[in-house]
């Protein structure tokens, strides 16, 4: 897999982790949202942390969709789960939450899962695997079939 594709997968993880952390921080400030008070959801989006978080989640979505265009869902999801390790580290160093032994074990298991996924092929979907090396004619004929 090319460096660019690996960087894209790192981007998926980093954008998701940062976006989630920003939204989590913003929602704590914005207070609770409830079904009884639906406008609170709209107002929550006006919180700068939530708004910035949403921007990061849009970047996550773009990179995630791009990754799914050439890799399996069961490859992209575990491979980018390194983001949860990032969240735990952000929680420790920026939000000063405690990282217990259980959490370290969790971090270890996620890393093992990432290694399992990354050691296999990125796509098992042979007919629609559109590598850059493939000739444009092949891809075009596949599009017609699809």
């Amino acid at each position: 897999m090319s460096l660019r594709k690996n960087l894209l997968l790192v981007g998926v993880a980093v954008f998701a982790a940062t976006g989630d952390s920003l939204i989590s921080r913003g929602m704590k400030q914005a207070g609770g949202v409830s079904l009884q008070h639906l406008p609170s959801i709209v107002l929550a989006v006006l919180n700068p942390w939530v708004a910035l978080g949403i921007l990061f989640l849009l970047a996550f979505f773009a990179s995630y969709a791009t990754a799914l265009s050439w890799a399996d869902l069961t490859y992209v999801l575990p491979a980018t789960s390194v983001g949860y390790v990032l969240i735990a580290l952000i929680a420790k160093f920026f939000l000063h939450e405690q990282v217990t032994a259980t959490r370290w074990l969790g971090i270890f298991l996620i890393s093992a899962g990432v290694a399992f996924a990354a050691s296999g092929p990125s796509s098992t979907h042979v007919p629609q695997k559109a590598d850059p090396e493939q000739s444009p004619a092949d891809v075009v004929s596949m599009k017609v079939d699809a």
Binding site: I23, V33, P78, R103, L105, G106, L109, G113
Partner: protein, 126 residues
């Protein structure tokens, strides 16, 4: 009562985000390698092809529901419960969904990856 709300939100997040992921993955596989297409046909053509794909729209709709379920869930329950629990279960649900609906070859290595990550994400809540 609060935890019942939280677990209700978790169930909603897992279901809708799995449906969203499976639809999005199917849409993007139909579109083809985005970066290769972009180089050949330009960004607008690629965007047009993605946006016209009905699975893409369905996927985004489903993910939007998942996102709002997460907002509700995060305000009802602890972020340290709702985020990891829904994420953890979504990994398992996605592996099942990808095998059944996307016909991905989920071999032992990929099950191990999904289970390790699911267990790890669940433990992070501890």
């Amino acid at each position: 009562m609060k935890s019942l709300y939280a677990w209700g939100a978790i169930a909603a997040i897992v279901t809708t985000s799995t449906i969203g992921d499976v639809f999005l993955a199917r849409a993007m596989k139909q579109v083809g390698d985005v970066s290769a297409l972009w180089r050949r046909t330009g960004l607008l053509t690629v965007l047009g092809r993605i946006l016209r794909n009905p699975y893409f729209t369905l996927g985004v709709l489903s993910m939007t529901v998942a996102f709002y379920s997460l907002l509700f869930g995060l305000s009802w329950g602890d972020v340290s419960l709702v985020a990891p629990a829904s994420a953890s279960l979504t990994f398992i649900a996605n592996a099942v969904g990808a095998k059944i609906f996307l016909h991905e070859r989920v071999d032992r290595r990929r099950w191990m990856a999904a289970l390790c990550v699911a267990a790890g994400v669940a433990l992070l809540a501890g």
